[in-house]
Point group: C2
Chain length 409, copies 2
C-alpha cells in the first residue's frame, strides 16, 4: 500500500451490508517483507453458485487457468486471495502452489476441490512460496471474521485505498443485497475483467444466468476502463450468489426482478470499475470520455479507448491543457471510420472544435477552469452515425513514473 | 528545440555529401514566438521523381492530403517544410494555406503546382498563418543555399538534435549518393511513415520503382519504431531522385545495381528511424526488442510492438529493473499465439527466463549491469514457429511527462 492516498479517493469508505452466507477472514502470510494482512479467505454457504470473467491474456497465471476450469462446476464454497505475489509465469511450481491451497481449503471446508477459487496478485515471475501459503491458511482458518473493509484492504497491492461498493435490488418483493470488493491500480486495461474483484450476493441465481448477467455488466464497466493500456495476466472478477435471501430464484430475464438484479449488478460493477480508475497509479484527474456519432457502438468504444490510452492526451490533462489537437490525433489513429471535418470536441460541456476546426471566438477560460478540477469530461462527436460509448481513465503523471520505475525493487 | 540534448544523441552530426540537383535554403517565418529558422525550401532539378509514404491517420493534415494527391504525378521540383505549426485540423483555412504555398513556390520555380510538396509540423489545430508563410517564402527564395545540417535543424520541433544520415550504392559501375534528414521525437508510432523525413538521391529511378523500394524500406524501419504509441496526423516521408548522377536508370530489380540501391535506401531509412528513437521525448535508453519463434513475421512484429508500447516495460527499463514479468504481460496482451510455458526472455544476451519460469540459479548481476547502460537489448523467443521481427523504442521517463504536460503553453 502506498503512503500517498490518491487525491481521487472517496472521502470515506461506504459501509457494506453483510451478505448472508459469506464470511471473510484475513491473516498475515507475509508474501513480501511487510507487516500487514495479505491473505484473504472467504467462506461461502453450501449451494453458493459462482460466475466469473477472466483475463484474455495469452500468458495467464495458474490461478486464472485453475479458476477457468473450476467455473465449469458453477459452485463455490471458498475463495482464497493472496496479495504481494501474482504467482504468474512460474511454471509447474506455480500450479503446484495453487493445488496446495485448493487441497488445504477444501479439506478445511469439507467440500469438493472444484468449489475452491484462488487468486494471487503482485509481482510476476516468483513462485508463490507454499510454506508461507500453508502457514497463512492455518492462521486464517482460525481467525475471527473480519469486516468488508479489512478484506478489501487485504487484497491490495499498489492500491492506495480499499475499494468497496454495494447495491440492492427487489426480487419477488424481497430485497437482495450485493456487496463487492476490488483491487487494481496499474496494469489496467482489462480485456475481459479487471484485476481482482469479488462480488457477493444473497440472491438465488442460476449459475449460467449469473454468468450471463456478469458478462453483460463487465462489458460496460470493467472493459471500459484503462489506466495504462497494460493488461494483467491475473485479471479476475468472480460473482458469488449464496441464495440465503428469501427472494425467489432467478433463472432468466423472464423472472420477476431479474431486470432489477441485472441493473444492480451493473451498477455495482460500474462503481467498482470507477474506484479502480480513481486509484490509477499516479492519477490526479478522473477522466470520462464519451464518444457519440460513431459508425457503431463498437467503433465508438475503440475510438474512446484510443483517446483514453493516448499518452499525449493523458499528459495534456495532467498539465491542465485543453489540447484538443491531441484528441484529434487519437481519433485519427484509432483506425475507425472518422471524418476530420465532421468532428466536434468538447471539454466540460464547452464545445472547443466543430466541423473540423476550432469554434469561432473560442473562449478558453471556462475550459481552463474545468481542467483545473479533478473530474474531467471529454466528449467527442464523430458526426457519422449513432454509435456511442463511454470509457473512463486517469491522467498520466510523474507519480506513474515514480511508482513503476522502481516497483519491483 | 529543447535546451536538453538527448543523452542518446550521436556525439557529432555526420557530414553528408551534396546531392546533385538538390539545393536547400532556410529562413525565418516565425510561425512561433522564436528567433530561429523554421521554413525550409528545397529546390530540385528538372526531371526529379518522387515517392512517398504518409500517415494512415483518419484525421490527416491538409499537407498529407495534398501530398497524397501530388504523388500521383511522380514528379517534383520543390519541397516546403514549415516547423512550429502542423496546420492539422484547421478546416478549409488549413488547405487554403497549403494552396497559397504551392502557388507561390510553383510560380517561383516556373513548374506545375503538382511538382511542389509541402509539410508542416508542430501544434495541431491552429491554421498556418498565410501572411507569415508568404513573407517566409519571399525571404527563403532569396536566401543563400544552406548545409544539410541547417536544413535538418530547421525542420525540428521538440527534437533536441538535427538528424541526418547518408548512404551510397554502386549502380552500373557508378556510385550514387543518398542523403536524408528527418525530424520526430514524440507522437511516434508510425502507421505508414514517421513524422517528417526527406531523402534525396542523385540516382535515376523510375517513380513507381522508387515507391516500391521506399515502401519496402519503411516496413522494416519507420514502421518498426515507437516512442509513445501515438501516431501523428502529419507523418510523411518523401524520397526524391534527381537523376543527376551518371549511373544508368533503375526501373526494376532486374537492373544492375537495383539490389544495392534498395540496400542503401533501407540502410538510410533505418539510420533515420533510429535517430528518431534516440531523440524520443525524455528518452534515456535506446531499446532494441527482438522477437523470434513467433507464428509469423507479422505476429512477431505485433508482439514486439506490444512490448515496445507497454508503459510498464518502458518504466521498468527507465528504472534499470530487469522486470521480465512485465515482458510476459506484454506478450500475453498482444493477442497473438503464445504459450506461456514455451517463452524465453533475455536481457543483454543473458537468458533470464526459459520454459515458462526463471532460469535455475539466475544471476541478476550481469543483467543489472547491462540495464545500467544506454543501449538495451531485449530478446523474446516465443517457441512456436519461425516468425521474427525487430523493433526499437526508448524508455518512459519523467522527461516525457515534463515535455508533454506543458508542450502547447
Amino acid at each position: 500500500m502506498s503512503d500517498n492516498l490518491s487525491p481521487l479517493a472517496p472521502s470515506q469508505s461506504p459501509i457494506l451490508p453483510d451478505i448472508a452466507g459469506v464470511t471473510c477472514r484475513v491473516a498475515r502470510a507475509r508474501y513480501k517483507e511487510w507487516d500487514r494482512c495479505d491473505l484473504t479467505f472467504v467462506e461461502l454457504a453450501e449451494n453458493t453458485v459462482v460466475a466469473g470473467v477472466l483475463t484474455k491474456s495469452k500468458c495467464p497465471s495458474p490461478e486464472v487457468e485453475y479458476c477457468r476450469a473450476a467455473l465449469n462446476g458453477g459452485k463455490a464454497r471458498g475463495l482464497v486471495v493472496n496479495a504481494g505475489n501474482a504467482n504468474a509465469f512460474t511454471g509447474a511450481r506455480g500450479m503446484a502452489a495453487v493445488e496446495k491451497i485448493v487441497s488445504l481449503a477444501s479439506a478445511h471446508l469439507g467440500c469438493s476441490e472444484t468449489e475452491i477459487f484462488v487468486s494471487s496478485t503482485g509481482v510476476i515471475g516468483v513462485p508463490l512460496p507454499q510454506d508461507k501459503a500453508e502457514a497463512g491458511l492455518k492462521s486464517v482458518f482460525e481467525a475471527q471474521p473480519c469486516s468488508w473493509e479489512d478484506a478489501a484492504a487485504t487484497i491490495m497491492t499498489t492500491d492506495t485505498f480499499p475499494k468497496l461498493a454495494s447495491a440492492t435490488a427487489v426480487v419477488g418483493g424481497k430485497t437482495v443485497h450485493l456487496s463487492g470488493i476490488i483491487k487494481g491500480s496499474g496494469m489496467i486495461a482489462p480485456d475481459m475483467a479487471t484485476m481482482l474483484g469479488y462480488i457477493f450476493t444473497d440472491a438465488t441465481v442460476d449459475a449460467r444466468f449469473l454468468q450471463q448477467m456478469l458478462s453483460a455488466a463487465k462489458a460496460k464497466s470493467f472493459n471500459c476502463i484503462t489506466v495504462d493500456s497494460d493488461t494483467s495476466t491475473s485479471d479476475t472478477v468472480l460473482a458469488f450468489a449464496t441464495g440465503q435471501s428469501k427472494a425467489p430464484a432467478l433463472t432468466s430475464f423472464d423472472d420477476d426482478g431479474a431486470d432489477a438484479f441485472q441493473a444492480a449488478l451493473s451498477d455495482l460493477c460500474m462503481q467498482l470499475a470507477h474506484l479502480v480508475v480513481r486509484d490509477g497509479e499516479g492519477a490526479s484527474k478522473f477522466i470520462e470520455i464519451a464518444v457519440t456519432g460513431a459508425d457503431s457502438d463498437d467503433s465508438a468504444k475503440r475510438i474512446a479507448l484510443s483517446i483514453a490510452n493516448s499518452p499525449l492526451v493523458k499528459t495534456a490533462i495532467a498539465g491542465e491543457d485543453a489540447n484538443w489537437g491531441r484528441v484529434v490525433m487519437a481519433v485519427g489513429k484509432a483506425g475507425e471510420p472518422a471524418d476530420r471535418d465532421s468532428l466536434a470536441i468538447s471539454f466540460g460541456g464547452v464545445t472547443v472544435a466543430r466541423d473540423g476546426l476550432v469554434v469561432p471566438d473560442y473562449d478558453e477560460a471556462p475550459v481552463a477552469a474545468h481542467l483545473k478540477g479533478s473530474e474531467i469530461d471529454i466528449a467527442v462527436d464523430i458526426g457519422l452515425g449513432e454509435g456511442k460509448a463511454k470509457v473512463w481513465t486517469c491522467d498520466l503523471t510523474h507519480g506513474y513514473i515514480n511508482i513503476n520505475a522502481d516497483y519491483r525493487s
